[in-house]
Structure formats: structure tokens, C-alpha cells
């Protein structure tokens, strides 16, 4: 194999494929990137057996061939090089020479025959999502995705496509976030799929340059295609909690509040909600009061003028969950609905943003 490629383009490609590098040292081949030179392009591949990424770029190929190179090291080498053409050349059966300008590296390589085959996915259904839409949807729910591997289903984001509506749902069982957006093209059949949260958070970042992301759904896998990248991830099996049942439709107390003001106040008052001390939200007349008290440390409170409807209430939350929810939205105003100190409090967008964020209270 012998090829030349612009340093910037190679680095961009490596930044994409390194996302699927395995950190497990038990299978050294998985910490490598498979580089294949064919015709006038180079294909880079990586996999940790859950996620597989393939990225194709144009290159001057003088001799076709393929080789597996240490992923992170190669990315670091290329990042350190000056902006010029990079030459890759196999120098023996297990060595690759990397040269750029006057710099020269020789890296050990592994056999491409040992590299796992890229998963062949034949998606039954496909749809196209504008990258900007996906980015904003994921941003609004990603904080509610569970990081607890003990309940795999909650580490995923539920995607529901009905007609032209794309809805994403995430919950870690303490809060639940829902965001909705319109798709340019309607989908014939209703689709429901649970995508690993980590994958769905990465894709909008990787697809930054591409207008749209194509998503294909197969029995066990989901394939995303954007720009010159193909990203395959497993689906998460199992029943996602029934979010419609969990979100109360109405409440005794309704408040409309400036999102940014409430977020600022919540962040300030949180400073005195240490050691798991709750952040209390009290609604009465036209005032919403946030307060927190940490034993032996001190206390804080802040009043906000709000439009209220219904009964006064006092309800307590984990401060981080509250701040997370408020920071997830871009809305100017949010509606806050609650009906009991032991039942969920719900923040909802007041315009068409389609954002719902439910938080379970803490029992003080």
C-alpha cells in the first residue's frame, strides 16, 4: 500500500473513526484503524464491536492495499504534523512508514485479515433527518439519558417517528425529557427504535458538516449515513418505559416563568444545596421562591415574579436535575406544572418547541 493524502483531511477522518476505537486491551486489533486504499480513495474503519464507523476520503493511491494501524497513536502523529501532504507506505509486512515534509515515523501495524468485517446492514426502513434538527433534539434530552449500565434500556434514547413528527425520549427514572420536531418528509409507517444514547449524542457532532443524516433501521442494528461516513450501532432491545403514561397531563398549580431567569436563580441557590440537600420550589400568589439549606453551611433563597394559576405548592428537587432541565431548552418561557410534593413536576415549552421535562421530587 502506498498513498498520499492532505494532512487536514486525514486528521478529520481520523477524528471521526477514533470514536469507535475500543478501550479494551484484551483485543488489540480493536484499538486499530483499518486503512484500505482502493482506486482513488482511502477507506478508514474502526469498531468496538458495538459501534462500527467507516469513513471514505479521496487520496492519491499509488499502490492499493490495506493495513491496520494503531488508532490513537496515528491520530496523534497526524495531529502533530504540519499542514502538508502525508505519505503512508507499508515498509514490511508489519510496518508502515508515515512521512510528511522532513518528518518520518515508522509504526507497527497489524494484519488486516484479523480485523472484524464491517457489519452488513440492510435496513428495512430509511429516513432523512436534517442534521440541525437532530442536533437540537438530542441536546434537549441527552441529560436525562441514564449512565447506569444496570438498566440498559435507559441508556438509550427512544426515537418515535409518526408522519412528519420525530420525537425523542430519554429517562434515567428520576427525570424524563421529551423533544419533538417536524421532518421535511413524512414517514409512511410509525417507527419506534431505541438508539444507544452515546451514539445519538456523537452523530450530530460527527455529522456537523453534512446537511442531513440518513437513518436506516434493521432488525438488530441502526445505520446512520452522513457526508462520507457510515456509522452502525446496535439497537437496544427491550421495552422502553411508556412515557405517555408517565407524564401527567395536568396539575393543580401552573406557573409561567422566564426560563433564563429561573435557570440563573436555580444555579445560584444550588450552591447551598450541598450533600444531597434538596432545592425547594415554593409557588404562592405571583411569586416562585427557590430555596436551599445545607446543614452547618448556610442557606440561600431567591424570589421570581411569575404568572401563577391554581393552588400554592411547595415541592423539592435534586438541584442538578432542575438545572439540567432548564439548561436543555432554548425557550424564552417555560410552563411549570405540579400537583403534589410527591408527584412529578413538569416543565413544558410554551410555544411550538415541543419540549417536556419531568422531574421526580425528593421527599424532604
Amino acid at each position: 500500500m502506498r498513498l498520499s493524502i492532505a494532512r487536514g483531511e486525514l486528521l478529520d477522518s481520523l477524528n471521526v473513526v477514533t470514536k469507535a476505537l475500543s478501550s479494551r486491551t484484551t483485543l488489540p486489533i480493536l484499538s486499530g484503524i483499518l486503512i484500505s486504499a482502493v482506486g482513488d480513495s482511502v477507506i478508514l474503519q474502526s469498531t468496538d464491536l458495538e459501534i462500527s464507523i467507516k469513513h471514505t476520503i479521496g487520496a492519491g493511491v499509488e499502490e492499493s492495499g490495506s493495513v491496520v494501524m494503531p488508532g490513537r497513536l496515528l491520530a496523534e502523529v497526524v495531529r502533530s504534523l504540519p499542514e502538508a501532504a502525508v505519505h503512508l507506505e507499508t515498509s514490511s509486512f508489519d510496518q508502515v512508514k508515515v512521512t510528511c515534509g522532513t518528518s518520518s515515523f515508522v509504526l507497527r501495524s497489524l494484519s488486516p485479515d484479523d480485523f472484524p468485517k464491517f457489519p452488513e446492514v440492510s435496513p428495512g426502513r430509511k429516513m432523512v433527518i436534517p442534521t440541525a434538527t437532530l442536533t437540537s433534539l438530542v441536546r434537549r434530552v441527552s441529560r436525562a439519558v441514564s449512565r447506569d449500565e444496570a438498566r440498559p434500556i435507559l441508556t438509550g434514547i427512544l426515537m418515535v417517528i409518526e408522519g412528519t413528527v420525530l420525537r425523542v425520549v430519554a429517562t434515567d427514572s428520576y427525570r424524563l425529557a421529551i423533544a419533538e420536531a417536524e421532518l421535511p418528509e413524512p414517514v409512511e409507517e410509525r417507527i419506534e427504535v431505541v438508539v444507544p444514547g452515546k451514539a445519538l449524542e456523537e452523530i450530530p457532532k460527527l455529522a456537523g458538516g453534512a446537511e442531513t443524516v440518513s437513518m436506516g433501521i434493521a432488525d438488530n442494528q441502526i445505520i446512520f449515513e452522513f457526508g462520507s461516513s457510515v456509522y452502525v450501532t446496535r439497537r437496544i432491545e427491550g421495552a422502553f418505559p411508556n412515557y405517555r403514561q408517565l407524564v401527567p397531563q395536568d396539575g393543580e398549580t401552573k406557573v409561567t416563568v422566564s426560563r433564563a431567569d429561573l435557570e440563573g436563580a436555580a444555579k445560584r441557590v444550588s450552591l447551598l444545596a450541598q450533600h444531597n440537600a434538596p432545592l425547594r420550589v415554593k409557588v404562592s400568589d405571583s411569586t416562585l421562591t427557590l430555596s436551599a439549606q445545607t446543614q452547618d453551611v448556610g442557606e440561600a433563597s431567591e424570589d421570581l415574579m411569575v404568572a401563577t394559576e391554581g393552588e400554592p405548592i411547595e415541592i423539592a428537587f435534586n438541584h442538578a436535575f432542575l438545572v439540567d432541565g432548564l439548561a436543555s431548552s432554548d425557550e424564552e418561557n417555560l410552563a411549570f406544572v405540579a400537583s403534589s410534593p410527591l408527584k412529578p413536576g413538569v416543565f413544558r415549552s410554551t410555544t411550538g418547541e415541543g419540549f417536556t421535562y419531568l422531574i421526580m421530587p425528593v421527599r424532604p
Binding site: 444496570a150 429517562t171 421495552a239 408517565l246 444531597n276 440537600a277 435534586n318 410527591l342 425528593v362
Partner: protein, 395 residues
């Protein structure tokens, strides 16, 4: 206030159950040829200088050949202890267990029927009827009652009348005061402080200087002033269990099973007491006696077997390399958040794996409540219980 203290409790139970051991030195815990410490010694054994807490090897050099060594039947001791506490609860409304074999009773006159001394006599008689004995101290405060119960052991009743507290305490040696250990006692004696009267005479500042942060309180107690009430249950700060292996274990499955069994035990105790904690602790003592502890604080308080086990095993993975010999394992949970309990959105749902797991744990808890701790166990936890292993509450 009564302090009831069983006399050589474990050893007395053994002598009750084994008539031919009566009148002979009996030591519980450890064995003459193995490692271990003495958990209890009968009064006959104490005449040879054997005390609880003494290394078994040293006790072996003191005791005659006809001494009885027994590993102890802690389930049986728990049973007898339970009977004793049943008796105590019939005579006083507030009973605070201080350990398996001692308790404080609130018998304040005017609030309870009989005279405190009459109640104390009744306790002694009722315990006698079980075939074992106790000693009782009667006083106006916990500290004085505890010291009094120890004055006339075994089978003694010591009454310190109101107003006589300081007269009773002042001639006593300082080591009798709960909270003054051997090291502190030695330091105090070097300063010329030999009796509780000397401690009582210290001003607060000096007391803090020679006795540490709690010095002023200790001095108050030495004067007979101790306002602590009898409480059914002191607020629990942590729940833990430890297991010492009679020979080191090193096999991965065996070590993991042992951690899982301890985690299960701790989680069951948590649920029994209606507690849940955010911090899970793991303690490992290796074959070379080095001890490592690790802890992980979770985002919410947990009490389920599953969550405690998962976290404990995660800590084990980080702290222990397979093949390394393990002498002791301990699992604990702390960080009880009485103040704020994060409610779970999905917990109320009656389906789903978590609800099922919770339902299973509830059923297991109920079965154990009715038929005993060994009546039912989770699959994969059928580990060999070496009777030589010592279980006990963690520190």
C-alpha cells in the same frame, strides 16, 4: 435508669446448653492452635486470667487442659438475647440495646409503675429463670448505671441513689469510665489523674486538653451528669458486615460470591430497618494483613440487594486482582439520607425488571422474617459456609 449486663453471656449460654461444661473454664471463639481471638470467657476461665479480646494463642498458654474451647453458636446467642430483650420490654417502655448482651432501660419513677429497684430485682429473677444471669446497675443516668452494673458481677445489683452519684464515682479508677481507653488512662495517670474524682475536678478547658474534643463531656459524666435519654434505637450511621476466612481465599468466583453474600446481607438489614444509603464501602484485608478500603457514592440512596451487590463487585474489581489471597472481606452502606429521598418515576410502575426484582426481594425478606435467614437465598449464592469463618458486624 437501669443498665442490664449479661454475665459472661456467650460462655453462660454454652454452659446452659452443655451441662457437663458447667464449672469448667469455657472460652468461645478461636482455638488453641489457630488464629483468632477470644469472644467470651466463663468466670471459671477468667480466674486463669483469660479475658475476651485476648488472642487465642495467649489464652491457650493460660488455660488448663480441661478447659472447653468452642467456636460458638452465634445464632443460638441471638436467640437467647432475643428472649432476654423480650423480658426487658415487659418491664420498661423504652429499651435501648447497647449490644447483644447489654441494654439501657428507662424506668423513671412516676412514668412507670414500679420502683426502679423493684424492677431491677424482677429483671434479675426473670433472667435467672432462663438459666443464665445478669447484673444490673440502677442510677439516674446511663454512665452511672453502666459503671454500677459492673461493680458487683456476676449476678449483682448495685443501686446509686439520686444525689450519691459523685460520691459513688469519685474513688473509682479512671479506666472504668466508658470512653477512657487504656492509652488515655495511661496518659491521665502520668498527669496524676487517677480517679474519676480527679477527672470530675477538671475544668472544661483542661479536660479538653487532656481528653480531647469530648473532654468536657467526659468530665461532666465523671461528676455523674449525663443527660442522654434511653432511646429505642440510636440513629444508625452505617450498616456493614464483615467476614474473616479461616484460610485465605483467592479464587475469583469464591471471592465474588463472598462479596455478593455480604452485600445481600447488608441490603437485607437496610431494608429491615427501612434505610437506604448512597455510599457503598468495600473492605479487603489481604493475606499479608494489609487492608484496603474503597467506597463509591451513588447518585441516589440504595437498599436493593442488586444495587448494593453491583456496586460492591465494581469496587472489588478495582481493588483486587484475581489470585491474591484474601483474609477478610467487608461490605457496608452509609450516607443515609433521612432528609431527602429521591423518588423514582418508574418504581411505582408495577411491571418491568426493577419492579420484579423489588418484588422478589420483598418476598425473600418476608420469608426470612418468618423462617430465618438461611431459609431462602438467591441462586449463585450457595457458597460453602465454613463454620470456622467468623461473621460479624463491620466496624
Amino acid at each position: 435508669m437501669l443498665h442490664v449486663d449479661m454475665d459472661a453471656f456467650f460462655a453462660s449460654v454454652e454452659q446452659l446448653d452443655h451441662p457437663d461444661w458447667r464449672g469448667r473454664p469455657v472460652v468461645v471463639g478461636g482455638s488453641a492452635d489457630k488464629r483468632g481471638v477470644i469472644a467470651a470467657a466463663s468466670y471459671e476461665a477468667r480466674t486463669y486470667g483469660v479475658r475476651s479480646g485476648m488472642p487465642a494463642a495467649r489464652a491457650a498458654t493460660l488455660l488448663p487442659a480441661h478447659a472447653v474451647w468452642t467456636r460458638g453458636d452465634f445464632e443460638r446467642y441471638g436467640e437467647v438475647s432475643h428472649q432476654v430483650f423480650e423480658i426487658l420490654r415487659t418491664v420498661a417502655s423504652e429499651v435501648q440495646p447497647a449490644s447483644i448482651d447489654e441494654a439501657y432501660l428507662d424506668v423513671t419513677p412516676g412514668q412507670h409503675g414500679d420502683h426502679p429497684v423493684a424492677i431491677a430485682r424482677r429483671v434479675i429473677d426473670s433472667v435467672d429463670a432462663l438459666g443464665i444471669t445478669c447484673s444490673v446497675g440502677v442510677a439516674t443516668s446511663k454512665t452511672v448505671a453502666k459503671i454500677a452494673s459492673d461493680r458487683d458481677k456476676p449476678h449483682g445489683l448495685t443501686v446509686v441513689w439520686p444525689g450519691e452519684e459523685s460520691a459513688f464515682l469519685s474513688p473509682l479508677p479512671i479506666a472504668l469510665m466508658p470512653g477512657i481507653g487504656p492509652t488515655t488512662a495511661t496518659r491521665l495517670r502520668a498527669l496524676g489523674i487517677r480517679t474519676l474524682g480527679d477527672v470530675a475536678a477538671l475544668d472544661d478547658a483542661t479536660a479538653r486538653q487532656v481528653l480531647g474534643a469530648h473532654g468536657a463531656r467526659v468530665a461532666m459524666r465523671a461528676r455523674g451528669i449525663d443527660p442522654r435519654p434511653v432511646r429505642e434505637r440510636e440513629p444508625v450511621k452505617s450498616v456493614s458486615n464483615e467476614r474473616t476466612f479461616s484460610s485465605d481465599i483467592r479464587d475469583t468466583a469464591e471471592v465474588r460470591d463472598a462479596v455478593a453474600a455480604l452485600a445481600e446481607h447488608v441490603a437485607t438489614r437496610l431494608r429491615r430497618q427501612g434505610l437506604s444509603g448512597r455510599t457503598v464501602h468495600l473492605k479487603i484485608r489481604f493475606g499479608d494483613f494489609t487492608t484496603r478500603t474503597a467506597q463509591e457514592t451513588l447518585s441516589t440512596a440504595v437498599a436493593s440487594t442488586d444495587q448494593v451487590t453491583t456496586t460492591a463487585l465494581r469496587l472489588l474489581k478495582a481493588q483486587w486482582a484475581p489470585g491474591v489471597g484474601v483474609r477478610l472481606l467487608g461490605v457496608g452502606v452509609s450516607g443515609f439520607d433521612h432528609a431527602a429521598l429521591q423518588l423514582d418515576l418508574l418504581a411505582s410502575a408495577s411491571s418491568g425488571p426493577d419492579a420484579r426484582r423489588a418484588a422478589i426481594e420483598r418476598t425473600v425478606d418476608e420469608l426470612r422474617e418468618r423462617f430465618g435467614d438461611d431459609s431462602v437465598s438467591f441462586g449463585g449464592r450457595h457458597i460453602r459456609r465454613d463454620p470456622r469463618d467468623r461473621y460479624g458486624p463491620g466496624k
